[in-house]
Symmetry: C2
Subunit: 473 residues, 2 copies
């Protein structure tokens, strides 16, 4: 939609607009029933007068291509398409609505869309700032990369042997003793969840999780027909799990280290309790450990997988939060039968992950580049966390509460009043400030926003938090 009429053209502006709109309909970009932006918006976008837009729309309505509905706007008319070309086009909207995978929430679609715009201040983005990414270092490491022909062919089902063997060494430092055969390389941690959903669970299976949860903001399990059950991790947990579980297959999804969205970091006791409870009830665990390198005090937070001698824990990691999300490299550590199953499905859905990305990650992990980068990164994130906490202390103390960050990207800011609804989100967006509202992680939550100190620049953080205060008052 960044087309504009060409002022040099031999066609008048309004005819150009008509032709452009016809092409949208003809190509199926605007399907039947699509609502057009308001005349005001169209005028602003095309940088023309509203009267020119009016002229163009009138002509298209007269041709039967558009129709107005009083009070609700202008729409692509029912048989626009037949009129236009006397041909018929597939009804894509109907296809989309009947299909299997759930759409993203509208708020998340908006987030994905507005994250691409340069003028937006991103207060919630779960991603390292461009300044924090080791872009030049990656560029330099590309220069010394040597490729083997075999490596850039179709991959082995489980992914590059080199990377898997480097990972075995790397995971030892996390207390995880594993073997190449127990590792599957995936295109990011999210893909691991998707493969587990379609490869290890029956329809109707139960996924237990903390509430709020990252999993509510995407739908790998929900789209595969699983039920998400939020649980409290308190003394009643064993009973809750036992009752809910019944005869259904089930699985416990958790992010014990620096949870998304709360930033919460489980104590050792909490880790042991969950592990042993699930073990006793034979409920497998997915441990999503993508943030552990970013703990400010790394020593106190062992992976659940490090307790696991019995293939109870499916361990998921990635380099997205530390090195670069654009590489799309993650891993699963699990019993061999599980890994082979997931690898088989991966071969059926995308034939493996990018060979070049795998080479880069292997190089970074094995050369020590990765670890020295993490050390620096941790310090920079600490500075950013303190910076934001200072602003909060100065400006938000009377209206909100939060906990001091222990690492990672997030502060889970709780407003005393339930103000964080969709209107609030949109009001901020009007001021060019994008937030991740709590309701995308827990639909009933109108108190929280997930604040990220990792993405926006310090200046943007200051301006963005100011706008937040303005919108609230």
């Amino acid at each position: 939609m960044d087309w504009k009429p060409d002022r040099q053209s031999h066609l008048t502006i309004h005819v150009q607009i008509i032709e452009w709109m016809k092409t949208r309909i003809e190509r199926g970009d605007w399907t039947v029933g699509t609502k057009l932006p308001t005349q005001r918006k169209l005028a602003a976008q095309f940088e023309v007068n509203r009267s020119t837009i009016n002229l163009a729309l009138d002509e298209l309505k007269a041709d039967g291509l558009l129709e107005s509905k009083v009070g609700s706007g202008t729409f692509v008319a029912n048989n626009s398409w037949n009129i236009l070309l006397n041909k018929s086009q597939p009804n894509w909207q109907q296809h989309i609505e009947a299909s299997i995978h759930k759409p993203n929430y509208h708020t998340i679609q908006l987030i994905n869309e507005f994250e691409q715009k340069d003028h937006i201040i991103r207060l919630g983005t779960g991603e390292l700032s461009p300044e924090l990414l080791p872009t030049k270092k990656i560029e330099r490491s590309l220069k010394s990369l040597s490729l083997e022909s075999r490596a850039i062919g179709y991959s082995e089902p489980q992914g590059s042997k080199k990377l898997r063997s480097v990972l075995c060494e790397y995971l030892k430092k996390r207390g995880i003793d594993t073997a190449q055969e127990n590792i599957l390389i995936v295109s990011g941690a999210l893909q691991a969840l998707q493969l587990i959903a379609i490869g290890l669970l029956e329809e109707g299976a139960i996924i237990f999780q903390d509430n709020p949860s990252y999993l509510n903001s995407i739908h790998p399990f929900q789209s595969a027909g699983m039920r998400m059950i939020p649980v409290q991790r308190d003394g009643n947990l064993p009973d809750t799990l036992r009752i809910a579980k019944r005869k259904k297959q089930s699985l416990f999804y958790c992010v014990p280290t620096l949870q998304n969205p709360t930033g919460c970091n489980w104590t050792i006791g909490e880790r042991q309790t969950l592990y042993h409870t699930c073990k006793q009830l034979q409920i497998p665990i997915i441990e999503d450990d993508v943030y552990h390198e970013l703990l400010f005090e790394p020593s106190s937070s062992p992976a659940l997988k490090s307790f696991d001698q019995s293939g109870q824990v499916l361990y998921v990691g990635s380099v997205s939060k530390t090195l670069s999300p654009g590489l799309r490299i993650g891993w699963v550590v699990a019993p061999q039968s599980v890994i082979q199953r997931l690898a088989d499905i991966k071969m059926q859905t995308d034939y493996g992950s990018s060979a070049v990305s795998q080479e880069i990650v292997a190089q970074w992990l094995s050369s020590g580049l990765y670890e020295s980068h993490i050390l620096q990164l941790r310090e920079q994130l600490k500075l950013r966390a303190t910076f934001v906490e200072n602003i909060l202390e100065e400006q938000f103390k009377h209206i909100a509460t939060w906990k001091k960050s222990e690492g990672g990207f997030y502060i889970w800011l709780r407003f005393k009043e339930p103000i964080v609804n969709k209107a609030f989100f949109l009001n901020l967006l009007k001021k060019n400030v994008l937030i991740n509202p709590g309701y995308i992680y827990d639909t009933s939550d109108l108190h929280h926003i997930r604040l990220s100190y990792a993405y926006a620049s310090l200046e943007e953080l200051t301006v963005g938090l100011n706008s937040l205060i303005e919108v609230i008052s």
Copy 2:
């Protein structure tokens, strides 16, 4: 499974074997009911005497960890796990069996597995030989790659703008006039099919296709609950489609240019007929066009998408067959509403494709490197095709028929007798020759194998085809 006992260890060999097997069971790599390899195989693998294996197995059986079933072998015993650790482990096998995605056929799993072994001659592999991949050139192009921080962050839903804009230019040469908004970058053509399956079709929808078909050898649509209907493209096609379609959603999948597995290339007439028939019946088409650059005579084979003014055709391409499958880069061209839907699901399942791979492809396409590479490649494939056709002419004329290749990788070799069954496949595998039997593309077909002249070296092709003759006689 490439572990061997350590002859320097203070433990005796048979105790090491016991410990190793216990660890397999403990970790869940060998689940209950797993059948162990024969004693002979274990002895060969561990490079020990059979009597040592015997001793180890006897002890494990006495402990209740293994059990023999007369005549059928040694298995991991039912309550081995409880005995071993007095703990319980998740029943992964049950999880796997109840889950949603179909497993690959056993033959295909074997192919995926044996393709990794160095001593195997691969007569069927649908992949460029390491000699034909421009590995050094890619390595060189990495040295001149400049990355932007933004490019290695999380991607835009539709993929790199740079690559999409380069693709618009590239696709023009294929007669396809499109815009950035109508393109989605995917991790290979296969992923495009997977996204279409879960994003555009209801359960029970119908996929029409030629028979045999590539789609029978993977299961993106089948696993999503779609019905695959093979059709003959003859005078009855309109009626066949009309009757089968009824009230169900449907879609026609085809590879008009150098089909997999037959190598068949549709005439212009066939292309037009299919396009117009589907258009009239409002059946959308997936045009899988991954082989078109490899036509020996490029001029005569327009893409169906080049006829399409109405968003009827979902066009799929990739660089896997031309540049490198390890990059995992492909694309879909479709109406904007479809592209946005597929992009939304891609964001929910893997957050986009490798940024570095996208940069490489953009560089190759825009610099002309890609096209000059294709010109060379085509000549080399022509030579290889002729080489294999000469061998066939000399040795297979009395037992088989085939058509001269028009491009791509494949010759669809038809044996006069129905000899190509699983036993035949396994017999060849014993001789270290791996084939793609026709039955993975059409379960009832015992006449064909898909011969690929693209992968094995000329020497291997000679030896492999000789073994084929031997096994037949």
